[in-house]
Structure formats: C-alpha cells, structure tokens
C-alpha cells in the first residue's frame, strides 16, 4: 500500500510560468523518496498536487491503482478524502488546540471512537517521545517539539503515504541531525511511503532510499542517493549534489579550453562527444609541480589560492588556468597561498558530459 504514480503532470502558474512540466514518476510502496532541488524547482508544487491542495493542469495522479486526479476526468478525490499525511514547513499546528487535541483531530474526522482515540494518541506521542507535552498549547513548545507534534498529528491516522514539506528547515543544526535520525527510524519502524521535499542535499542523501532531483519544473534524475552522487545523469544534477560542488570545465573560448583539451586527450572512445567535464573536490589530489603521474591519472598545473579548514578536512581553492577549483583533502596541506602546485585526478573518477549536458558513460573506463 502506498504506491504513487505521477503521469505527465503539468502545472502552470499565470500565463507562462511552468512550475512542473510533464513529470513522470513512480514512487513504490515503502520508499522514502526525496524531491530535491533549489527553491522554485516545482518540488513543493508536486507535493501539494499529490495532496490535492493544488490542481495539476494536466496529467494523472494514481494511488494504489486508484486515480486521484486525471486531467480529463477532473479531480476525482478531494484532499480531505485522500487519507494522506502532510507535514508543513511551518508545522501549521492549530494554535487554539492542545497537543492532544491537535493529534486527535484527524481521528475525529475518521469517526474513531473516544477510547480508541485516546489509546492511539498515547501511542503516537510515545513513539515521538512527547507524551509529557499532551496538554500544552503549540505556543508553549520549542521548535523541535512543534516538529514532533506536527509529525504525530499526521502519524496518528497511520497514512499509507506521508508527505513532508521541508519539515526540518526551521530547526537548528543539532536538532536537525537528531530529527533526521528520528525520521529514518520512524520510516524503518512504520514502513509507509514517505515523500520528502527538501533543498538540502545532505538531508536527501542521508535519509532517502531514492532521490528525485528537480530543476525548473523538470525531473532531472531519480535514483538511489549514492547513484545520484556517483553517476549524476546530467550537469544540473552534478552541480546541485555535492558540497563543495563539483568542479566543471567547459568550452568557453578562453583559457579553460586548454584544460578541456588536456582531459580529452586521456580518452579515445567517443572523444568528440565530450563537452563538459566534472571532477568532485575529493577526487582531486594536490601535488607539487612536475610530479610524475601514472597512465591512469590526469595531471594539470595549478596555483594554490586559499586554504579553508573545516575541522574534519581542508578545502583548497586553486586556480586552474582561469577556473576556480576546489579540492578537499583530509591531511593538513603543505602548501601556502599563492604558490604553484598541480592537480592530479584518477581518470576513472572524472565525470563526462556531452553538449546536451547529458552524462557519457564508457563501458570500460570506469
């Protein structure tokens, strides 16, 4: 239970703005899927359309084989009958109700009798470790507690599909980490389908079983987190996932072209297709000028700009021709700013994209 199919979903705001463009996505039962993308990419709109709060202009939404919305037949099931759960970014707790009343509301709407309600409320509050807050009002709760109540309110009706709209973005860093673990634990315990909207790639990477990257209303790629990271399907995904972001070289007609040509030389197969080249910061080794490298490694001279310690690692910014490149290294670097150095990159870690910004995969070279 809890399989959602989105077919050709399109949604425009105003005459020209396409929030979501021909989205096709199937979310299998029991998955924890993250809709990931920068603000304005259509991810929240997608979530709201699944919930029925926004109406698509065209397409179909199907839940467990039952059509909820169809562009031809109209909105078949209104929000209040879809029996989903939705946690808002702002939590949207009802300020005039206590925690228990907030949690009880959905059960009342489903005509659950009083004694049973009481038991479910107790269980859900226990599950989220907030049973001592039962009689408090939302204004008396901290952000993290409100977050838990918002979750409890939706979990009480045990929906097959739980929708979460950037639920952790209003929490501080430590609480966010705690809630991430908590959400993952809940998902593993309850096993329902979770659709989670976020612009935070770390959240998406750590929690989800699958990530759907969206950009400008278009679905870019949908795959398990490590696949998204290791094999980004196109330049947009490659740019968005990873911190510091992937270093990119492309033909601009300037000094950069020399870098691109230098990499191209390493490849024989489909060489002419290569247009954009990406290298993850952790795949870059900073080496002294003139270091001898093996056949499997690409070498290029660079100049160290600045060193940025993050605690667990160092981020070194380098100038490669006129491109700013970031490398991340674990060991303390022995370079000073403004000194010459070089970068060395294992060829099989380089990401190659064609002029359509799509990934080029080589059968043997990785």
């Amino acid at each position: 239970m809890g399989t959602i199919e989105l077919k050709h979903i399109t949604k425009t705001f105003g005459p020209t703005v396409k929030a979501v463009d021909n989205l096709n996505l199937t979310i299998e039962s029991g998955h924890f899927i993250c809709l990931l993308g920068p603000s304005g990419c259509g991810k929240t709109t997608t979530l709201r359309m699944i919930a029925g709060l926004d109406m698509p202009d065209a397409g179909e939404i199907i839940l467990d084989g039952k059509t909820l919305f169809s562009g031809e037949k109209g909105n078949l099931v209104p929000t209040e009958k879809r029996e989903l759960g939705l946690v808002f970014q702002s939590y949207a707790l009802w300020p005039h109700m206590t925690v228990a009343q907030n949690v009880s509301f959905g059960l009342e709407m489903r005509n659950v009798d009083k004694s049973k309600r009481k038991k479910i409320i107790g269980d859900v509050l226990d599950l989220l470790h907030i049973n001592q807050l039962e009689n408090r009002y939302p204004s008396q709760l901290s952000g993290g507690q409100q977050q838990r109540v918002a979750l409890a309110r939706m979990l009480a009706v045990s929906p097959d599909v739980l929708l979460l709209d950037e639920p952790l973005s209003n929490l501080d860093a430590k609480l966010r980490l705690e809630m991430r673990a908590e959400l993952k634990r809940l998902h593993e315990t309850l096993g329902n389908t979770i659709i989670y909207v976020t612009h935070d790639q770390l959240e998406a990477m750590t929690m989800s079983t699958k990530i759907a990257v969206m950009h400008e209303g278009l679905l870019q790629q949908c795959a398990p987190p490590m696949d998204i990271y290791r094999k980004p399907g196109n330049v947009t995904v490659a740019e968005f996932v990873g911190s510091p972001p992937m270093n990119l070289f492309s033909h601009t007609g300037g000094k950069q072209d020399a870098v691109v040509e230098s990499i191209k030389k390493c490849y024989t197969e489909q060489k002419e297709r290569i247009d954009i080249i990406g290298v993850r910061p952790e795949d870059i080794k900073v080496v002294p000028r003139g270091t001898e490298v093996g056949e499997d490694t690409w070498y290029y001279p660079a100049e160290v700009q600045t060193l940025l310690p993050t605690g667990s690692e160092w981020i070194i910014s380098l100038l490669v021709e006129d491109v700013m490149v970031f490398a991340s290294v674990a060991d303390d670097p022995e370079y000073k700013p403004k000194t010459p150095a070089a970068i060395a990159v294992k060829k099989n870690t380089v990401h190659l994209f064609d002029s359509q910004r799509q990934r080029i995969d080589f059968s043997g070279s990785r």
């Binding site: 705001f13 304005g40 259509g42 209104p78 929000t79 939705l86 949207a92 300020p95 509301f105 939706m154």
Partner: protein, 609 residues
C-alpha cells in the same frame, strides 16, 4: 514557486485552465460566494457614485420645478450654476477656498506639534512616556466634533442666544470671531488631529532602526547630518502621508464646521453640500458632492503613492531594531510640561467642560444650587419645558436605540465580510478574484463620507428595479455605513488571514475535514479575536459617525450624533453635552471590553482607522 520556463514547452489552453478552476471550486464553495460578494460590492460602491455623476447633468423631479426643465433631460445648468453663475461664489468657490485654506492651516498647526511629541515619546528619556503614549489615544478616540461642542460651552456669545456660556458667566463676552467661524474651527480641528499626527509619526519613527543612525555615526556623521541625511529622508514619505491624511480629514469632516460655522453662516465644502441639499437642489448637491469626492480621492491616491514609496524603504526585519534614546537633560521639565499640557488641552479640558455643562443649570456658575442631575435623570426640567433628562428622554432613547442598531448591524456585516474577503484573498492568491475583491473593498476608503452619503442618497432615494426607495429607512443607513467601513474591516481581515496563512486549514483538509468542519473548528476559532476586533472597531466608528449620517437621517431615523446637532440648534446645550458624554462613555467601554477580550493594544491599531 516562480520559475521562468523555456519557450519550447507546450502552452496550456485557456479553456483547460477554466475547467480546472471549475473543478477546484467544487471543493472550495467559498470561491462561488466570493463571486457573489464581488458583484454585490460593485453594485453598492460603484453604482451610487456613478448615479451621482449622472445627476450632475440630469434634471430630477425636485429640480424641474425651479429650472423649468423636463425631468430626466440632460443639462449643463447645474455645472453652470455651481462653477460660473452669479451665485457660484457663495455656493461653491468661497466654501472651497475656505476649506483648502483651513485644511492647510490645521495641518500645518497639527503636524509639527504631533511630530515633536512623537519624537519626545519615541526617542527621548522623557519620564512617564509610556503613560503618555497610551493617554494620547484617548483624544483620538473622541468624536471629532467633541471639541466644537466644548468650544461652544466655553465661548459662545449672545448671537446664539439661549443659556450663557462659561466665558459669559465670568463676565466676558467673546466677540464673534472668537466664538464662531474660521478661528475656532481651526483650533478645534487642530486639537483633534494633533493626536492623529502624533500616532502616525510615532509609528514611523519607531520603525527607523537606530542601527542606521549608528552606522552613520561610525562613519563620522554629526547629529545634524544624521538628522538631515538619514532620518528625514526615511521619514519623508510618512511626513507627506501624515500631511495628506490630515488634510483629507479636515476636508471631509462635517460636525465641527457645522457646529461652529452655522451661527455666522460660515460654510465649508461639507457644510455647503449639506446646505444645498437642505435647500432642495439635488443637481447642485450632486455637483458639489462630486467635487468633494474627486478632491478626497486624489488626496488618498497621492497618499497611497507615498505609502508605497515608503514601503520601498522598509528593508530591515524586526530583529535588532532598536531605538537609542536622547537624554533631555535640562529640557526635561519643559518637555514634561509640554506633554502634560498637550494631554490636558486635548483631553481633560473638553471632557471636563462637557461633564460640567451637563450638570449645571447655568454654565460657569459655581454655586451649589446651580448643580443638578436633572439633565440626566429629571422627569421635568424647569428651564427646558417638554424635555426630560437623558435617561428618560424619548428622543434620546430612540436615537440611542437607532445608533446601536445601525452601528451594530453595520459592524457585524463589516466584520464578517471583512474576514471573508481576507479568507478569499489569502485562499486564492494571485487570482483575479482576489485582486478585484481587494480593490473594490478598498474603494469606499477613497470617497469622503459626506460625498458618499450624498451619492447613496441620490441612488437609493428612488425605486430602482427590485430595490424599493430606501430613503428614510434604517436599512439605508446600515448599508451606507457597512460599505463605508468595509475597507478597514477587510484590511484587518486580510492581515489576520495572512498572518494565519493557508496552512492550518490545509492541514485540517489533509486530516480529512470537510469545508464546514474546517471553518467551524479551525479557521473561525483561530480568528476569534480578529473577528471581535473587526466588529468592534466599526461599531465604535459608527457610534460617533456624523458626516455619513447627517444627510441620511430623517425624523424617524435620528441617531445620537444627529440628535446632538438638533439639541444645539434648539439651545438645549445641557442635553447635547449629556448625549456627547454618553457616546464617549460607550466608546470607552467598548474599547476597554475589546482590549480585555483580545488582549490587544489600540495605540497602534487605531492610527489609521
């Protein structure tokens, strides 16, 4: 989610979007009702004004006798009469010129004092400024014509006859220029509007973050430079806005010029309009009312322009906004005296004279035998045959009952409609309905009360289709008042709904609640306080409204404020004062009640209503 999209994607058809909208509506009944409200508002706001504009060039029944023209025919006779004929000076140009001059003088007098007092309470270490800033709301809550009534109590002379004034009892007979006409009108209006300017400025000044001054100081700017180059430019839009709003208030107020101007036939635009209406020349009234509306609208439009300018400056959020206080030093005592005097003159003196007048046979004679409660409780008043004290007086009781019914009904209509407008606007953001509703519900704000009343009179006086003639009915007063106060109610409705946002209701929707359940269990309980405020504020305004009702009240629909004018005309000043006091007490009581229920403070909320 706004996102530019590339061109090569398929366009969405208009029809498709419309069909989707219909689907949407099935589960959002509110949208349908919103359409109905939109039509109704358009009819009630635009039609009267339009009909009045037509009346400026069309002959009506009452005019056909005097002009010899056929009823319903078109003529430039009225325009000619008002603007260029021999009587045009008396009818229009002199009142217009006086109004503009008086409005300018009043504004120039009220603004500097208000601004100075605002600076004292916001930016200095003046002792007791908390008390002062709440005390200064009181004179603002008093009806605008309170001062005029108090002025007559003190200064009227033998020209008006009747009982002597306080000054006369002390052996001083005020000359006409001091008792009536331009001078007292200016003083009374300025005293009434000075707290208004104070509140406007105080709010503007509070919004200026002193970190901006600090930044200038760190960069080496002297105090004078900071005031000239940082503070003044930031306050300039607020300053202009205060000027225009004060000006338009003077332009639209009826009570004060009527009470103080009539004894010497000193007419301003609103009283000229009323007088032409009383003489029974609807065409001429329509022309003068149109001019009043046009003037009022342009002032408010200008103000809205400046407010928008001002918004451009609002860059900082609430966080870290703080004001640094200047030490008054040796100026402390003069400042305290100034602030104290401001309060005494604008609040204590008028209220005390009104109280005293209502309990003395001869004003200003302080002997024990002269004091009486007859004007409150007397079954028989020796000096006013045929009249009873306030609590037994049939005409006052009838007027009070009318006031309550009219203001109450209008307030409830306003409050509910306002919240409803807010609901639709928030619910359907970016939609045409919401934008239109927002604008139409704001329209009445642009039209000066007395002009709007004239327009409604011209529109509703005759039977139109299924709508019978409403002249002389309470219904007309209720309709007119509801429309006039709708802008404030809908503005507060919109802001309350904005604050709540869509999400609490959407959360209930996801939880499975139907529209009715969502309204009764989520939206209305959350908006309880906002609703109370949205009802009580128009109620208070309605209780003290004069400009709007003076044209519409007839012997059967007399309200308290018009009854006061009648008493003044008959020379029953004690009864007039007692009635004023009754209104003031009601206003204070309702305000107090509202503050208690909602736990809000009116000092900020009142500033523009």
């Amino acid at each position: 989610m706004n996102q530019p999209s590339s061109k090569d994607r398929t366009p969405i058809l208009r029809i498709e979007r419309f069909q989707n909208w219909l689907r949407f509506i099935r589960y959002e009944p509110i949208a349908l009702v919103a359409a109905i409200v939109t039509v109704l508002l358009t009819y009630l706001v635009l039609a009267p004004v339009g009909s009045m504009l037509v009346d400026t060039v069309r002959v009506q029944i009452r005019d056909s006798a005097t002009t010899g023209l056929e009823v319903g025919s078109y003529t430039t006779y009225f325009l000619h009469r008002v603007f260029v004929s021999r009587v045009s000076d008396r009818l229009f140009w002199t009142p217009l010129a006086r109004t503009l001059i008086i409005a300018s003088v009043v504004t120039l007098a009220a603004l500097p004092f208000g601004a100075f007092l605002a600076w004292l309470t916001v930016r200095t270490d003046l002792p007791g400024k908390k008390i002062l800033s709440s005390a200064m709301v009181i004179p603002y809550m008093l009806p605008s014509w309170t001062f005029a009534v108090a002025w007559l109590n003190i200064m009227k002379n033998r020209r008006l006859g009747g009982l002597p004034s306080i000054a006369e009892s002390f052996g001083f007979s005020p000359p006409d220029w001091l008792a009536y006409g331009a001078f007292p009108i200016i003083v009374c209006q300025a005293l009434h509007l000075f707290p208004f300017a104070y509140l406007l400025f105080g709010n503007a000044l509070r919004s200026v973050d002193s970190q901006m001054e600090d930044s200038a100081r760190i960069l080496g700017a002297q105090k004078g430079v900071i005031a000239r180059r940082i503070i003044l430019p930031l306050l300039k839009p607020a300053l202009l806005s205060a000027f225009l709003l004060t000006f338009s208030r003077v332009l639209g107020s009826f009570g004060t010029p009527y009470i103080l101007g009539s004894p010497v036939r000193y007419l301003l635009l609103p009283t000229a309009l009323y007088s032409s209406f009383q003489v029974g020349t609807p065409g001429v009234s329509a022309v003068i009312a149109s001019v009043t509306i046009l003037l009022g609208m342009s002032l408010i439009a200008l103000d809205m322009y400046f407010v928008r300018e001002y918004r451009r400056f609002v860059t900082v959020g609430g966080k870290g906004s703080m004001s640094r206080l200047s030490a008054l030093g040796k100026w402390k005592w003069p400042a305290i005296i100034f602030a104290g005097l401001a309060f005494i003159i604008t609040t204590i003196i008028p209220l005390v004279t009104i109280i005293l007048t209502s309990i003395m046979y001869r004003p200003g004679v302080f002997s024990l035998s002269n004091f009486t409660l007859d004007f409150w409780f007397g079954r028989y008043i020796s000096i006013m045959p045929g009249q009873q004290g306030l609590f037994l007086n049939q005409s006052i009781i009838a007027a009070a009952w009318n006031s309550f019914r009219i203001a109450g009904a209008a307030a409830v209509i306003c409050g509910i409609t306002g919240l409803f407008v807010g609901y639709v606007v928030v619910k359907m953001p970016n939609s045409k309905t919401s934008a239109f509703l927002r604008q139409v519900s704001f329209l009445p704000y642009l039209v000066p009360s007395i002009g709007f009343a004239a327009a409604c009179l011209s529109f509703f006086a005759v039977r139109r289709g299924p709508v019978p003639s409403l002249y002389g009915t309470l219904t007309l007063l209720i309709i007119v008042m509801s429309i006039k106060y709708l802008p404030f109610a809908s503005r507060s409705g919109i802001s309350a709904m904005m604050q709540m946002g869509n999400e609490p209701e959407e959360a209930a929707r996801v939880a499975g609640a139907s529209w009715g359940k969502r309204m009764s269990r989520i939206v209305i309980p959350i908006q309880k306080h906002a609703l109370i405020t949205a009802i009580m504020l128009p109620f208070i305004s309605g209780m003290k409204e004069q400009s709007l009702v003076i044209m519409l009240a007839t012997p059967g629909t007399e309200v308290m404020t018009t009854q006061i004018l009648r008493f003044i005309e008959y020379g029953f000043s004690q009864l007039a004062n007692a009635t004023v006091l009754a209104i003031v007490v009601i206003i204070f009581f309702v305000t107090f009640l509202m503050e208690r229920i909602t736990g809000s403070n009116l000092a900020s909320g009142f500033s523009r209503s």
